[in-house]
């Protein structure tokens, strides 16, 4: 038991380190620099070389800023909301495999935090709880922009969740289990799913953007309309928590996307070394991390390139395009699998 506990804690620590210690700072920097690049301006460049220390400064600023709790808010919910935002973000990764099974001290460990049968379903379940953070924040802020923002955000979230869920199901069909390591293994034997299930991949990708409220789907926090939406009233670390949750969500979803469609932790033409288990784990984890970072860059690129959708366009896309597409994908995969084409 204790071995398992230790292993689990180690794996969780690995992810947290990656998310909070590595990915977040890098991405803050990348985001700001890339934005500047695209907008043809220098961007933050005072702290450290090329402004590399800027994320640290940002973090400090968040910590030391005043925590404003407006008098009109529903206090318990208002305080709970950022935690609720962090909760799904920081728990969904448990089902993501990041390497081949390794043997430590005579015991075989799967390189996944929670080696459970529900697998990807658990991911979806936990991420579906994210909506409560939005609603809580919006509702408790006692501000009509926040409320509208949160409602819009939740509607958007649930709308795209459908497409996402169905696209994921498409991946699972030929595999025959919910376990993501099986999905990875399947992709080692077959093509990456992104090829035969291009439709699903596309759907997933779009839904991913929407799920994380990223441009062009950042309607809920559209500053021009809704004064930043549901987190208008938040400041300091609470605001940072929302931001961090968003980034972590992006990362987690990117990881899931990579696992489902792009072969998971496995890099092409590169097998993890069969040396010491720690090396194996780190290398294979890096494979996943590389893909996640690539995805994150895509997020940033898209954010600063594409204009924002109008809300009705957004919903129309979700309901009238992605949903049918995902069903089509589902049926196609089912037929293909049953016919043995897959």
């Amino acid at each position: 038991m204790s071995v398992d506990l230790t292993a689990a804690l180690l794996k969780i620590a690995l992810f947290l380190a990656f998310f909070l210690g590595t990915l977040a700072p890098i991405m803050v920097w990348v985001e700001r620099r890339a934005c500047a690049l695209i907008q043809d301006r220098p961007g933050p460049n005072r702290l450290g070389p090329w402004g590399l220390l800027q994320p640290l400064a940002d973090a400090l600023k968040f910590i030391f800023k005043e925590d404003i709790t407006p008098t009109e808010v529903e206090k318990p919910l208002f305080l709970l909301a950022p935690v609720l935002a962090m909760l799904p973000a920081l728990s969904t990764f448990v089902v993501l495999p990041f390497g081949p099974p390794i043997e430590v001290g005579g015991r075989v460990h799967n390189l996944v935090v929670a080696d459970v049968e529900s697998g990807v379903l658990l991911f979806l379940a936990l991420s579906s709880l994210g909506v409560y953070a939005l609603v809580s924040a919006g509702y408790s802020s006692n501000n009509k922009f926040s409320l509208l923002g949160s409602i819009r955000a939740s509607a958007q979230l649930i709308s795209y969740e459908l497409a996402l869920t169905l696209a994921v199901l498409g991946v699972l069909l030929p595999v025959g289990t919910f376990r993501l390591d099986a999905v990875v293994a399947y992709q080692q034997e077959h093509l990456w799913n992104a090829v035969p299930q291009a439709i699903g991949f596309l759907v997933f990708l779009v839904a991913m953007f929407a799920e994380t409220n990223r441009t062009p789907f950042d309607l809920p926090e559209a500053e021009s309309e809704l004064v930043a939406g549901y987190h208008t009233e938040y400041s300091a670390m609470r605001f940072a928590a929302f931001m961090a949750a968003e980034y972590i969500n992006m990362a987690a979803l990117s990881a899931l996307c990579a696992t489902l469609y792009l072969g998971g932790w496995k890099l092409p033409f590169l097998n993890p070394p069969s040396g010491p288990w720690a090396l194996t784990a780190l290398v294979s984890f890096s494979g996943l991390a590389v893909k996640v970072i690539l995805f994150m860059c895509l997020f940033v690129w898209v954010r600063w390139t594409l204009p924002r959708f109008r809300y009705d366009q957004l919903m129309r896309l979700g309901w009238k395009v992605l949903l049918p597409l995902s069903i089509v994908n589902l049926l196609w995969v089912a037929v293909a699998t049953l016919q043995g084409w897959m």
Binding site: E117, L122, A125, S128, V135, Y139
Partner: protein, 180 residues
């Protein structure tokens, strides 16, 4: 270990359940319900039904309760006293009748359960018993008709709900839709 986890979630769900029932603000009630549901999901896992537990979170907590929240937001039932709870209590007979009935029921039920299952001992769960595949097989063989009926039920529900909710023409709606 399991007992600790059970105690944690049982306590959590009980407290949250009381909040669900007792809280004046419907939003808090709803949020508490989520807690109850998630705790129950944890208990489901303990009972060897992880798949149901996951679905409980995905469907129940993640979808159905969202609908409640939406309606509460939509009708603005949270803060203001549209629910009328604050008004002078009427029908306290109702309350006392309920408490009496619930008391009798609770006493009987608890005594009964305690007497019947007080000393049961369970075999530890086996992997096969937890596996989801047999469940799926059962669903898609013996209960395939129920499965299709669920489809029908959902169809009816969505149509009915759309029709009932969308009685266009009342003044409230036009006004409300401008807000969108």
């Amino acid at each position: 270990m399991q007992l600790a986890v059970f105690a944690l979630f049982a306590l959590l769900s009980l407290v949250s359940a009381v909040v669900v029932v007792a809280h004046k603000n419907a939003v808090y009630s709803t949020m508490s319900l989520v807690v109850v549901l998630v705790s129950s999901a944890a208990l489901f896992v303990l009972l060897g039904a992880p798949f149901i537990a996951t679905l409980q979170v995905l469907v129940y907590a993640g979808a159905i309760v969202v609908l409640f929240l939406f309606v509460i937001m939509l009708l603005n039932l949270g803060r203001e006293n549209a629910t009328g709870e604050a008004e002078a209590p009427r029908g306290s007979g109702q309350k006392w009748g309920t408490i009496l009935g619930a008391g009798v029921f609770a006493g009987t039920l608890l005594a009964l359960i305690w007497r019947t299952y007080g000393s049961d001992s369970l075999e530890p769960l086996q992997a096969e018993a937890v596996a989801t595949k047999p469940l799926a097989t059962l669903l898609f063989s013996n209960y395939i008709l129920a499965f299709e009926v669920i489809g029908l039920l959902l169809l009816v529900a969505v149509v009915a709900a759309s029709v009932v909710a969308r009685r266009v023409g009342s003044a409230g709606e036009a006004e409300a839709e401008k807000e969108g």
